[in-house]
Amino acid sequence: MFELIGISPVLLFGQLLIGLINGVFYSMMSLGVAIIFGMLRIGNFVHGAQYMLGAFGAWYLLHLPDIFPGLGLPSLGYWWALVLVPFGVGLIGALMERLFIRKVYDLEHAYGLLLTVGLAMMIEGIFNVGYGAAGQQYSVPESLRGGINLGFMFMPLYRVWVIVFALLVCFATWYVIERTKLGSYLRAATENPDMVRAFGINVPRMLMLTYAFGVGLAGLAGVMAAPIYQVSPQMGQSIIITIFAVVVIGGMGSIFGAIVTGLMLGLIEGLTKVFYPEGSTTVIFIIMAIVLVFRPAGLFGKETSAHHPSDIAAARPGSFLENGRLWLIVMAVGGSILPFLVYPVFAMKMLCLALFASAYNLVFGYVGLLAFGHAAFYGSSAYVAAHTASIWGFPTEVAILSGVAAATALGALFGWLAIRRQGLYFAMITLALAQIVYFYAIQAPWTHGEDGIQSVPRGYLFGVIDLNEPLNMYFFVLAIFLCGFALIYRIVRSPFGQVLKSIRENEPRSISLGYSTDRFKLIAFTLSAGLAGLAGGTKAIVFQIASLADLYFMTSADALLMTLIGGVGTLLGPIVGAIVVVTMQKELATLGSWVIVVQGSAFVLCVLFLRKGIVGTLEDFLSRREERKRIAADGGKASAPALDSEAAS
């Protein structure tokens, strides 16, 4: 039979085994993510980093004598690690909950995600500084070496152990949650935390312990993974996005669903490796897209209609900081002077990223949708522009426009898929969809894998202006930026933009006024994708390269970070944010790998202390000053709303 379909049984079962191994890890990890999301309403992006901590924990225990020479510490092997590390990682989790995550429970979901993204960057960045990209080896414990010969294939003993033990852990977790007293507290608090508190149960402490438990599971998975995969700082980064996709596919509200979905997807991935190897990295994300079309709530999920009004935007209507005409002139003048003050290449980078962040702000700031996959539009446009310019010989301006067209089309497709869900789901879905493009670019022949498309010709603008002249190139980029800025300003201040803002402010109300809000969101998302593409295409021409980094999720995170630092939902915020981030990256370039740690800390600090961003905080200051002036002008008669005085209790 195997000969009939041209597949050897060794290959088939070998890949199924690998799929099963991956599957049990997916199960364990998505179980943790699902429990944490269920109880805390936090999309725990740092879960991957916590898994990595588990693997490193095991490695450290083994190398205790080398790390602390002279203390006479013993080298603790796998079995010790299996017991100690999950507790250690869980303890770190409890600490993180206490110090950071607790602060964002009452905030918009976006902040929980941003906070954990920042924490993940910090942790992974620190390990990256210490260990670089190279993986550490961790050998299989003595007692689990060797294997079983099944006749048609060789079954390594350690893998059998991993499958059996991981399934046991998953089942035990399921049992504890569904069948024990402790689990009944968890289930009850997930349903109605207020009621549980009214019974005298310390729910905040429970939340901390739940988080610690979910994180401990990730740590355990890390220990078990150490002998199979390489122990490296990056090991968690690649898995977390897959885990988010698994959670979207499985749907929330079912512990059992998370376990089954994880296993199933691992197996499907394994099978894909046999029958269509090129698709194995993307198959989970494609399944996610299909599930979203037919069962938006996920395979095992319950319908959730919880709507959280966004509370993120910081703009003040009528402020001079929102006067686009004024700032267009200021930026045109300032932009013309800039290349004589700093390197034109540096200035161009700033302009590209400022446009990118402004495009992103259109969906996050003005519609309130937490998109987390804008790298897909930025990067795909960069690739298309680079390819059409260097291979097809398109004129520069046409190459960039081709990139914009590609990004817009992709935006329409992704938007159509993602608009079905809101809040955190929207972020997870856009992130996963962007991963499809990333993996496609790794494999497709025309994108040249790790190398990317290099030596892209800058060419001649309209066939006459030589863009190899740095200043010519610069003013072309400045013109593009100003056009993009003007378009965004126009969109925001158009009848359409008014509807977008109304959706952000109160979507049910807009529906009740007769707006089909999903169509508005989709158009805004598509426009934003196109503008992100404009930034990406331009960037490919400026730097003469399109590379995987443009598509990597960190690029999406950059857009978010710039918008957040500058001020979400303000006209100038993303631009200020881009200036800050690009300058920071340049100034910190000497720090090497520490840059990512600094950037992660910036995320965390912004979420905790500067949620309104620089421009938003400035707006607050201005509005308070204005208020004081007004009160003074009224002869000291405070005309503050009556409610505020009632609130001041």
Binding site: A313, S494, P495, P508, S512, S516, T517, L643
Partner: protein, 255 residues
């Protein structure tokens, strides 16, 4: 019911049932609202009044039953389309756009019918043709002086008035008001009640209201819901004499 009667009814709900996880919030409810009347839905907490609202405006889909608006079956239509047909609702908690100005709040309602809402290339100034109408509406609810202020800064009662002006701006054929006077002081209650009376002249109003003096003053017809079912229907005097209604409100003499 005969056809003549149903033509007089702007909305007819037949055997409407909505179940949540097996629990029937509304079960087998028939409701007909006469054109150009003020119809009140009252009943104890948990009777299913807000669920009825959500069903009629399609914010919820009924598990069973049918809803006809002007004789047309709207049971499967999405909420935004139902709104465009002329059924506009208010919400229990004041539904305003807090960070928009008072005038822009009303503008949101007025701009949809002029059809430029998808025009992202046009300036927002193209909407200034609506200014006169906005001022007229704000004047009607006594908010003209606050027109350029951010809506978030209004006192609660004024927010309800703004919401009312926004709802009214759409000139809805059928206006659904969910507890329009809840959380208001006496003065505001009277002002809103007068407004409701005033705007009811050539339209139909269906309201959920706890304040029975408001109901007594305004409603032409009352439907009493209890435990998701219709307990009684009629005028205020009929309802207040109905022993079942009295029992639902004050409690039965069970022994």
């Amino acid at each position: 019911m005969n056809t003549a009667q149903s033509e007089d009814n702007i909305i007819v709900a037949n055997a409407l049932t909505k179940r949540f996880h097996g629990f029937a919030a509304v079960s087998d409810v028939d409701l007909s609202v006469r054109r150009h009347s003020i119809h009140a839905l009252i009943g104890p907490n948990g009777a299913g009044k807000t669920t009825m609202f959500n069903l009629i405006t399609k914010f919820l889909s009924p598990t069973e039953g049918r809803i006809l608006f002007n004789g047309r079956d709207i049971t499967t239509e999405p909420p935004a389309r139902v709104a465009r047909r002329g059924i506009v609702r208010s919400f229990q908690i004041s539904a305003i756009y807090p960070r928009m100005s008072v005038a822009d709040n009303v503008r949101m309602a007025l701009q949809r019918p002029i059809g430029s809402s998808f025009h992202f290339w046009k300036s927002v100034k193209s909407l200034s043709v609506l200014d006169d109408r906005i001022d007229e509406l704000l004047d009607a609810v006594g908010l003209l002086a606050s027109r350029d202020q951010a809506a978030a800064g209004l006192p609660y009662g004024r927010k309800r008035a703004l919401e009312f002006a926004t709802t009214l701006a759409l000139e809805p054929e059928l206006m659904l008001l969910d507890e329009p006077t809840s959380g208001l002081g006496h003065e505001d209650v009277d002002r809103i009640a007068d407004l409701i009376k005033q705007v009811s002249a050539d339209r139909t109003i269906l309201m959920v209201e706890h304040n029975l003096s408001v109901v007594a003053k305004l409603a032409d017809a009352i439907t009493v819901l209890a435990r998701g079912k219709v307990l009684a229907e009629g005028s205020y005097s009929e309802i207040s004499e109905n022993p079942e209604v009295v029992e639902a409100y004050i409690g039965g003499s069970d022994d």
